[in-house]
Symmetry: D2
Subunit: 333 residues, 4 copies
């Protein structure tokens, strides 16, 4: 409460807190009175009390998410899909082109990924492009190609879902459904993904705090789907040399706050090929449970994101380095 708050203002706030089901403790200081509200009421927003007369500030002590919180689920959640495993001692690397462009392209790249120890295939069939005039993806045909190749190589397939109407289609072809950074707070989509029983790869929004990322995971989990892998892929800051600034510290922070696995996307996180390997190594060194990386056998001619795709020989070398780094902290690739 403000130092100018009267007894009756303090009483009014106290009464209102009790009407919400909280047990209220009053602490009287030299200049100010503090009201401590005890109770498990995640649906009450602090701002609803900040407007009351005499209130100085409302601080939330407990986190606003529950299912995603490590407090209520101390052990790591381990998500296993085919040969990939996220959350345990394995660091699973998913790789592939930005967009599926043809069966041959996908096959060429997938074999390189497999050969070098990759454990998942990525590829976009529907692309969220900033410009309405850019290539928008192959659609269902792209999904079909990925599924065929994924099954042949025994690797799970990851692709992005852009809207609710694509859900049935995606479920038919894809092993892990990716939610892009721009859709991290598309709550209608999140709610729908709570009803399915396949893992969701949830990317952090460009301006999302770690708490908001975990709240978005909570949206999915509150529908009954607990298989959520979150992904750090760079946040927007004032630094413009890299497209985004990868918040590597989000990896250990998320692992402290939540039991969910977290992976990193150094391709979108940097937007520049030459920075992908250093940031991939940094993410694994910081404890990431996996990576998702763009690889292309002919990036100069890629239909999207060529500038940030690794050549196969770069991917090979990176995987060798990652193996040693993982080993340095008690994990393996």
């Amino acid at each position: 409460m403000k130092d100018t708050a009267t007894e009756s203002m303090i009483q009014a706030v106290s009464d209102r807190l009790e009407s919400f089901g909280f047990v209220v403790h009053k602490v009287v200081g030299v200049n100010q009175t503090i009201l401590g509200a005890i109770g498990d009421k995640r649906s009450v927003e602090p701002s609803e009390f900040e407007v009351m007369e005499g209130v100085h500030e409302v601080l939330r002590i407990t986190v606003p998410y529950k299912l995603a919180s490590r407090t209520f689920h101390p052990e790591n959640t381990v998500i296993e899909v085919k040969c990939a495993s996220f959350g345990g001692e394995q660091v699973s690397v998913i790789a592939g082109p930005c967009s599926v462009e043809s069966e041959e392209q996908m096959y060429t790249i997938a074999r390189e990924v497999k050969k070098n120890g990759g454990r998942g295939l990525r590829g976009g069939a529907f692309k969220p492009r900033t410009s309405p005039y850019a290539f928008q993806g192959m659609g269902e045909e792209g999904l079909r190609i990925m599924q065929t190749i994924g099954e042949e190589l025994g690797m799970p397939v990851v692709s992005e879902i852009m809207e609710i109407n694509q859900l049935d289609l995606m479920l038919r072809y894809v092993d892990i459904l990716q939610v892009g950074a721009r859709n991290m707070q598309n709550f209608s989509l999140l709610r729908e993904l709570g009803t399915i029983r396949k893992p969701v790869l949830l990317k952090r929004g460009l301006a999302a705090t770690i708490e908001e990322l975990l709240m978005a995971a909570e949206y999915i989990m509150s529908g009954g789907n607990y298989q959520v892998i979150v992904c750090e892929r760079g946040i927007r800051t004032f630094e413009t040399y890299t497209r985004n600034t990868m918040d590597i510290s989000a990896i250990p922070v998320t692992q402290k706050l939540s039991h969910l696995p977290i992976i990193a996307d150094p391709s979108h996180g940097t937007g520049r090929r030459a920075k992908v390997a250093p940031m991939a190594r940094a993410a694994v060194a910081a404890g990431a449970n996996g990576l998702i990386i763009e690889v292309h056998h002919d990036p100069d001619r890629a239909l999207s994101d060529g500038a940030q795709s690794l050549y196969p020989h770069q991917f090979q070398r990176l995987m060798e380095e990652l193996r040693m780094i993982a080993w340095a902290i008690g994990k393996h690739i």
Copy 2:
């Protein structure tokens, strides 16, 4: 090109540019060679050339949007809906509660808005809440209430559409469809809104640049719907005292780059009631074409956003101040 680029690298880039339909000019400097590519190829992304050997940097001289650009449409677009007008000399103020809660609540507030010179009614029926456990809105019943009151008072009604599946419903009840900040880059939704013939109020995303805001408008316009009103509602910065930082300078910048009207939302832009009036005045003083403001007759008991809603008497006083400020720069409320 880099200072280390060889003749053949320069030739390769030049050839590739020409294959995309550009006319190429070569400027040879002391240390570096610069290739100027002339042509109207908005679909080509600079990054597609940045990956080529010997390339130092690719800079785009022209903006990546066209329909939204003032270059190709020098006069202001003026959007008129009932008594409201955006883009001309009138500064139209839209006001109302965050959420429609009941017919009585909406009616009480709407009359206050009308009486004080407001020219549009706002109210949420479907609420995008950060927490899955918070109040999610009245749905269709809320829309029906707004429509009835809007028609009685002769005021256009603004409400937020959260997903494509709500489109038919929204079109039946609402005069201006709002796209929330979190959906600014929900490209599926934007594309759909390009097919309708009602004005769209497009809010700037928390981490969106002005260029990205105008690209989102371009998405809608490329479908044939040119009635787009953009809205500054605060961006995310390191300052945490206010919920967001209103980027008032975005108002004159957008008006320079685009012919579309731009309004401001000081309620979401600040998140604090006491800051709404100063920021509303600032926006109008900076040249905003309108405002969208939350007003509630009993904000302590509002089901959402009470902390940032003005009391009716505060709204009244603000409108008086705005009248004089608008007049100071040759406009009227």
Copy 3:
């Protein structure tokens, strides 16, 4: 405390708080125990307790500054220097060139400023340039020119001090000493400015929170100099169209938290001439106690910051608009 904290951990934190002179209140909740520490110990940093075993989070309820806080000094501080007044009903506009370049240049511009109602003269003699190769200012000769003209026109003179060693010199010539954004946390300089008895114009750092700005003011005030005018001049955000993003909401926020006057610098805040007038109007509409603006009679040939300097005729028109806006909120220019 964490939900896993043992009784002995809680006791250890409680004991340590008491050893610092706090009175401790213990609130026992369902999952967690909260310790409330009451006392006026501004020198204790929360982080010193965050490291203790079992501690979940340390939240400071009171602000870390005291002399700058409105809590302990409810009335506005009004700072008067010659014809200028900051903090009362007058909105004082300081204007002039970025750098003093010659007596003739300064004189030409100063007369324009005076004629149009400006109440202070600005001009740089020592310039903090990002590049070591750029023009660094006229030095003492520039100060002498400003003083002569300021005295003739009866206007106070504002110039930037860059280091402690310039203090004697500045005191001889200047009425208000400006601390630039880059020096806002140059604590050695701040401490020295606490010992003088002339007003200090303290600019907000590019990445400084409002709390840090007020802490910097506190540094000066803790030395006994209470005449501090703070200045919003733009913060660094991801938006790059404008050089900085002016945080107009910092004006009402600072006025709520502190009794010190706050002015705005729309020239550095935007870095673009065409945006100076809209942002100057916005700042006054939001309640700023003054402005500091760059004006130049021949900006194309200015030795620094020409791109953001107003022409005299633009300054004249702006002052006319500002007069009406100030009047709309009960102030005058």
Copy 4:
């Protein structure tokens, strides 16, 4: 130039460019004309041309620094001080307490650092504290203690210089002079450090771009002191869980743009002890040339920054992990 620029406007800009010594090339496009100015004129600021009539935008192709640029100095600069080496294959770890508190404290910690492979000692004697009421450091006595211990253990000593007046004192006791983040653009101080012949450890400012960091290095180098080690220590972003966001990608980016060594400070970069080791590992994995880390044998009782200081046993384990990570990328600790 703008599409509306007339021939005479284009000629005026072209003439002015030539008057600055540039060779001008004119490229005429469909809608716009582009003027390419060739010449090595780092002191000319683009904004000086942006104000001219008809100018659309001025883009700088070359970087504004020269001595710090890799273009003009392709090999790494290797800085060697006693047993430490920055810029070559060794990754040198500097460690020690935030502040020197006593001879015994410093000695205890220094031996731990030495034993575990540290190659430099850090310790503050003059502390830049945000609050004027916090512990300000031991001053000269602290420097003397560090020097004695550094000489005994054969390790170079690093301490922060806060103002020009401390320069003689620092030179007497310290091997590497640190410039703190808040002073990164204290140009007076930088210029003075250009005249000495000891290495300078220059920390990146909280809101400084990589280009600005290298410009600050250029300030020092332009005075003749080429021994500059730059340091990434976190930037300010919207994420508040960690005190700052470490921009790990700044490490490879700086190494690409400049020949200067870059080290990382995970202690200030995160502000939280539990995040120091993951971020230290990430920095080395990304290619950092060294680290500077806070270690304290009794952090609960440290007079400053205890919350981010590692315990000796944590430091020991970290050094073991770092050894393997360095080896994975062809380096050693």
